[in-house]
Amino acid sequence: MRKRQIAVAFGFALSLTGMAHAVAAGIDDPRRADYFKTFEGKTIAFVPVTMGIDLTEGWAAVMKKQADRLGMKFEIRDPHFSADAGAQAITSLIAEKPDVLVVHNPDVQSYAKLLKRAEEAGIHVVQINMRSNYNSDVYVGADWIGIGEAEAQAIVDKCGAGTSGKVAILQGQPTSGSDSGMMKGADNVFSKHPEIKVVANQAGEWDATKAHSVISTVIQQNPDLCGVVGFWDVMDLGAAAAIKESGKPIALVTSGGGEQMACDNVEKGVFEKEIAYQVMDQGRDLNDMIVTVLESGQQPGKLKAVVYSPQLVISKDTLRPGLCWSSKDLKK
């Protein structure tokens, strides 16, 4: 008996507060419902070069967060560094018809025909960081030529007069969208600096072990090596190890996703400098462009938008807490 009385009193009090809110009613946004409806049930498919590295894990985490928020399905097909498996994944995705296909190209050629086919099949194709020869709806990623120029300039500053001027270039994979750009940027700078001698230009295939063997060989052949231009920080850790083993003061400039590892290594002096593209920001850009292509209602293949990520220079001068992002936080 007593309980019921309390319940009634409580209900009455509630209804009073409700009335109070009704008095302060806001204005509905007419586009809000449409906005959420646009994304409900859509599918985003992501084909990285591989998972398990800071870049792809970072992008995937950011995209997944938005997909969950907007009620979209987010799928990852991981070809694990195999262009063939990646091509298989894209081929089967074309049959499955997701709404947006986010592709991280291993090189400029392998997926080009497939991406064209995907857009013809009505799938928006967003290319992230490593472009292909086929220009799809959107490219989000680093301005590689700019990064190449910045890296080369950093080495020119370090290996100018008074040094041997000998420089090694450690590419990832020469046919990738990133390397072709960075090579162009490096050429742009080095061609104006005859004092710089490029003594080696080899590919480490994104593999730290291979990078280690390449750079230790180069150091043996050129004991007076002054600097190394590395194309990806994760791989360049191998080069850094080779430099450390040689005990020589060789400057290593790199580029990468600006993960905490980069800041730590710049602090320790392992990297002279990292020209970074911030993965979290790129993820945001990806999300915005995914939203844009879906909202636009346009046929795939019409847009041809390019979103270059701003450069972030990580060096001893710029270091500060919070400059880098941490992949450990992705899970939180």
Binding site: H80, A83, A89, S110, T175
Partner: protein
């Protein structure tokens, strides 16, 4: 008959125990596991992945199967010859780079570029083949080295050309067709694979070179001894593998145009997995192109399914690795298990109740009563012949016998001292008969029916009959042709003792006591061989009746003589002539004055007769006891039985002392003498007969007094 006996008889007549062992012995049993796996995998993927069975996806999988399949077919051919080619992945990558460099950079015409690429692949194969085949290096290590070497070459080429490949573009409809075209909706690469697979299957199963490859894989030494050039054959398989890898690489190049360093890495493992899971043997000699295709489809479905299931880093490699382990385990265990199980269940005894045997020891009034009439036999060729199963004489009195070494040995009349090998026919020659041209027609165990003409040229007459519809083992091949006779129209009627065992395993057939034998007719006018009587209990001697309207035949384990009518009212029917012989009948031959001679290779014993009504006991014995400890039918003491047209026994000739002719498998009457042969004897016997026509000869009885220009 008790109810128990009646039930046992029914059970052993209608339950086909022998089928299990025969099914396990078939070569297509190798395919059971891959086919099951394929079906299970297909069902799983079709239910687990939406759209998996969509036309588009199937078509895409087919395109990938095309590339992998070519490599697997090449690898399978290498494995069939007993080798392994680990360099396929590198060779594939090399072909990819070569094709792309020639087309994108050097701007070669597409056809020329493809031809050059395949040439490069063949060259790599030739290097492997030369090292493994001619220098006899270990295949595994050699191709492991070429794998690394070619990979290094690919890396060097990539360093020089990769950027230019990536920037070069090709505008060729042919090149696009190779990479993305379809024929009637089927991807080009899959069509190409099917064409090559069919060609490969034809070569392996129908052409000499294919048989040589299988032979080398089966046993290198035996192939070498047979005169096959082992180095050349082995080398050839690597060249084929190189060509097919290059072809696959070309397809890949046209599909993706990507000169990535990861191309073809680990492909050898995938290809080996496919080849093995399809049921090809690692050791060589066992396998087929069909198995390669099946393995390819399994692995491709699996890989496609794994990518589509969205498995994380490395998980797919792990699954492929697990499948490879499983394939190796199956290859080893399943084959062995199957063989041992087959050995256990192949022997399937039947129920056989023989009529009571006449008393030949204790009853002196029996026509079979033992005597010593063969004691004074003259011995011919003592120690010079090994197991003369059959003996026969020509009109001039020369004596021929079929011996264990695969020879027809002739002793020359009149004294039978001079001995010569009349002809070497091979196999185990058994029954013999002269045809109307004087050719000696011979049943050869393990080979079939052969003829030795008067110029001693050996010719095959037939080795194959019509296959029974429901038989699981291939009963069209003759395993144990035993005895024959020839009708006036030239038709040859001959017995095949058993279709389940070879000559050396006759005792196992005895243990089974089921009707595994048959009578076959060969018609020389049409050249057609047909089985006319089946399910006989060790069909043995065959003899045309004197009037040629029927022939008599012996069933050894049934201890009976039957007659098969060739014409007249009873045409096509069989009737029993002697139902209850005291022993195991072998050859039947004509005698003078309308009689017949029958050799009993051994006599029945009560214990063995009883065992024949206890199939379960015999099965247990066959499984649990070593072969030489088995209960054997008695083939130590036999005799010669002389009987008339109606089956009435006229006389019996025994060798009571057992010195010369205890067991007799054949005998021929000739001019008043009886010549005796025995399958385990080392001599031929001759004994003078009383109460016979002293001028009677076999050839004259069959072909007339003036047959084939006899001298008389």
């Amino acid at each position: 008959m008790t109810i128990g006996e009646w039930a046992a008889r029914l059970r052993y007549r209608y339950v086909p125990d022998h089928v299990v062992g025969e099914v396990l012995g078939r070569r297509w049993m190798d395919n059971v596991i891959p086919v099951t796996l394929l079906i299970a995998l297909a069902i799983f993927l079709a239910t687990a992945i939406p759209n998996f069975t969509a036309v588009g996806n199937i078509s895409d999988i087919a395109r990938q199967i095309g590339e992998l399949g070519l490599i697997v077919v090449g690898l399978t051919i290498v494995m069939l010859a007993g080798g392994i080619d680990l360099s396929v992945g590198s060779n594939f990558a090399l072909a990819n780079v070569t094709a792309l460099t020639l087309i994108n950079v050097a701007q070669w015409p597409i056809e020329a570029a493809i031809a050059a690429t395949i040439g490069v692949g063949a060259l790599v194969g030739l290097v492997n083949g030369f090292l493994v085949g001619f220098l006899r290096l270990r295949a595994f290590l050699t191709t492991l080295v070429t794998l690394t070497l070619i990979r290094a070459v690919v890396d060097l080429l990539l360093e020089v050309y990769s950027v230019r490949i990536a920037t070069g573009t090709v505008d060729s409809s042919l090149w696009d067709f190779v990479g993305a075209g379809s024929i009637l909706g089927v991807p080009f690469s899959f069509v190409l694979l099917i064409v090559i697979a069919i060609a490969g299957h034809f070569v392996l199963t129908r052409l000499r070179v294919g048989w040589r490859i299988m032979a080398v894989g089966g046993s290198r030494r035996a192939a070498y001894n047979a005169g096959i050039s082992v180095p050349r054959t082995v080398c050839l398989t690597y060249v084929v593998s190189g060509i097919l890898s290059a072809l696959a690489g070309t397809l890949y190049a046209s599909r993706l145009s990507g000169a990535g360093p990861d191309t073809g890495i680990g492909l050898e493992l995938t290809a080996i997995t496919a080849a093995l899971i399809g049921g090809n043997s690692v050791g060589g000699g066992r396998g087929s192109v069909g198995k390669a295709l099946m393995g390819t489809i399994i692995v491709s479905l699996l890989m496609n399914g794994l990518v589509r299931l969205g498995l994380q880093n490395g998980a797919s490699s792990m699954v492929i690795g697990a499948v490879l382990l499983m394939a190796i385990a199956i290859d080893v265990r399943w084959t062995r298990w199957r063989q041992s199980l087959r050995a256990k269940v192949y022997v399937s005894p039947g129920y056989l109740a023989l009529p009571r045997a006449p008393l030949f020891v204790s009853d002196p009034s029996s026509p079979y009563a033992m005597n010593d009439r063969l004691r004074d036999v003259e011995v011919i060729g003592l120690g010079e012949v090994d197991g003369p199963e059959d003996v026969i004489l020509d009109p001039d009195g020369n004596l021929y016998c079929s011996v264990r070494q695969g020879d027809i040995v002739r002793f020359l009349a009149p004294d039978y001292v001079e001995r010569e090998v009349y002809a070497h026919v091979g196999g185990r020659p058994l029954g013999m008969a002269f045809d109307k041209d004087g050719g000696l027609v011979v049943c050869i165990g393990g080979m079939g029916l052969y003829r030795v003409d008067k110029l001693r040229k050996v010719q095959k007459i037939t080795a194959e009959t019509n296959r029974s519809r429901l038989s699981i083992i291939d009963d069209s091949r003759m395993r144990l042709a035993d005895d024959l006779d020839i009708a006036p129209d030239g038709k040859v009627y001959f017995s095949e003792a058993t279709i389940r065992y070879g000559f050396e395993e006759w005792v196992v057939d005895a243990l089974e006591g089921r009707g595994n034998g048959r009578i076959i007719r060969y018609d020389p006018t049409t050249g057609v061989t047909r089985t006319i009587l089946r399910n006989l209990l060790f069909a043995n001697g065959v003899c045309m009746a004197h009037d040629n309207k029927s022939f008599l035949f012996a069933e050894t384990w049934a201890c009976r003589i039957s007659r098969y009518w060739l014409e007249g009212l009873k045409e096509g029917t069989t009737e029993v002539v002697i139902a209850d012989l005291p022993g195991y009948p072998d050859n039947i031959n004509r005698g003078s004055r309308g009689t017949y001679w029958l050799g009993l290779a051994g006599t029945r014993t009560p214990s063995y007769d009883m065992a024949m009504t206890m199939p379960a006991f015999r099965r247990r014995m066959a499984r649990r006891v070593a072969g030489d400890e088995w209960l054997f039918p008695n083939v130590n003491v036999g005799c010669v039985v002389h009987f008339d047209e109606k089956g009435g026994v006229i006389e019996t000739l025994w060798d009571g002392s057992g010195d010369n002719h205890p067991a007799i498998t054949s005998m021929r009457e000739h001019r008043g003498y009886l010549y005796l042969g025995g399958v385990t004897n080392n001599r031929i016997g001759r004994i003078k007969l009383a109460d016979v026509d002293p001028d009677w000869t076999g050839p004259a009885s069959y072909w007339g007094e003036s047959c084939w220009g006899t001298r008389r």
